[in-house]
Symmetry: C2
Subunit: 287 residues, 2 copies
């Protein structure tokens, strides 16, 4: 496994590997590091589907707000490299901020519509930062396939919109959220949680399961408002949980819906704070 910090070396390495393997495909897993089994599952899928697997580890300052956790975002490169290796990565791209942004960027890739609600509303500028760095990484790696976890469902919607609008020549592969045994969605930020918060954090996935059950029990008779109440009631059962949002929107357009319609995909998306830690989770439903 190659570990590369410079853009020009990365381009050279990928070019060379492509030249060695005619008809090679490059699978790319962009991450912010502090890898967990969710990331490993993306790498394993890329390993199965592509001839060359590239992982990037880059905590992108552009997608963090001024009062967010850029500085304290967890980092553990040694462990990341071990996970990357065992999951089958060929190349790990691990640039410094000065390599990705030698000067402050004047160019921003902005996606409207899908970014208006959820994390787009809670974290102004976040998705501009995501879309911009992902565009940069795509231009550097030139992958055929890029793998993203559905825990960040809005991020997937934003990237897919951007790829469609800008004719970026690759395929986005959305991958299922991996969960701890008790249902908590895997996240690098779970490490922030105290024991008590960690116990209560299961209300996010519980709330999504409650919604599933309510939908099944009431076959089409349930309203959006009733469904939201099912979800928020469950979250409120955790004394430390503070809801940032609990929204029911169409997917992937992420627009409000007045009723649950047969055959329409929708998402229940949650962001819940435990102390300073903000967790997200979601489930996509198909009536």
């Amino acid at each position: 496994m190659m570990i590369i910090k410079s853009i020009s070396e990365l381009r050279q390495a990928i070019k060379q590997k492509r030249a060695e393997l005619p008809k090679a495909t490059v699978g790319f897993v962009p991450t912010m590091g502090y890898l967990h089994r969710g990331h490993a599952s993306l790498l394993e899928r890329a390993r199965k589907e592509c001839s060359i697997v590239v992982l990037s580890i880059f905590v992108n300052p552009l997608q963090f707000g001024p009062n967010e956790d850029f500085e304290r975002y967890p980092r553990d490169v040694e462990r990341d490299l071990a996970i990357a290796k065992s999951a089958g990565a060929d190349i790990v791209f691990f640039p410094q901020v000065s390599e990705m942004y030698p000067k402050p960027t004047k160019t921003i890739v902005g996606v409207s519509g899908v970014t208006e609600r959820l994390c787009g509303a809670s974290r102004p500028g976040h998705f501009d930062g995501v879309a911009t760095v992902v565009t940069k990484l795509f231009n550097i790696v030139l992958p055929d396939f890029a793998y993203f976890g559905m825990k960040d469902a809005q991020q997937v919607a934003v990237i897919e919109q951007m790829v469609y609008d800008l004719n970026i020549p690759l395929t986005i592969v959305p991958c299922e959220t991996l969960r701890e045994d008790d249902g908590l969605a895997m996240s690098s930020r779970n490490v922030y949680l105290s024991d008590e918060e960690r116990q209560q954090a299961i209300v996010l996935s519980r709330a999504l399961s409650d919604a599933e059950q309510a939908l099944e029990a009431q076959q089409g008779a349930i309203t959006v408002e009733q469904l939201r109440t099912v979800v928020t009631d469950r979250i409120a059962s955790a004394p430390l949980a503070v809801i940032d949002y609990a929204d029911i929107l169409t997917y992937p357009a992420l627009e409000p819906m007045d009723q649950i319609r047969e055959g329409e995909r929708f998402i229940i998306a949650l962001a819940v704070k435990f102390g300073r830690t903000r967790l997200i989770d979601n489930r996509i439903y198909n009536r």
Copy 2:
């Protein structure tokens, strides 16, 4: 010469030509059509420097304001194809608006800083439209070199900034402005001019030459304000000319300058209206 209207066919054609020619380079000349000798010179340069030459003809609605000349922008595809062929194009990409924008784009590539002044100020949203469509075209054509005329010096600065910031894997080749015998910069919009306007339109290039002479005559002793007066006096000598802007800025950052400094590149950039027709011209100076 191939004439292609669909993105997928264009990609296929370029892929095939690349496969036929190992180490092939693709030179790309994006235009809005109604080609003149300026465009032809870009194609000829691409022909000299690259193995595959792609021309695009697309009047991009996204870069026109609501009261601008999108509808009446001159079009003559038959003549364009003849010029393209004789200048050595291999492929002409000539998409409809519905091919480039099957749905209204939600993704905008925005460049700040270099777009604040000149045409960026006079034509709000113009460079968002330019940067977005150029990004799309780059993602479709995947050129190694892209050729742009320096008549649109701010456009070149915007595209170069964008390529730098987004790590777009290609080289921008800025090319000299071509001029009519009397000095008028070639432009598809010159066709809008009445005979009288056409005669007076030479004041743009005259003003730039006057500035050159004033700079030479006064070796460093001339102020920015004096230089601006030289330029605006000459333009004012044409009764039909209405100045949109006549600015002296650093190049390529396009920032205001308080004095002319030894060794600092700067641009005198002009936009002048004759009736409904808006002409631009510029010259870059190096003291």
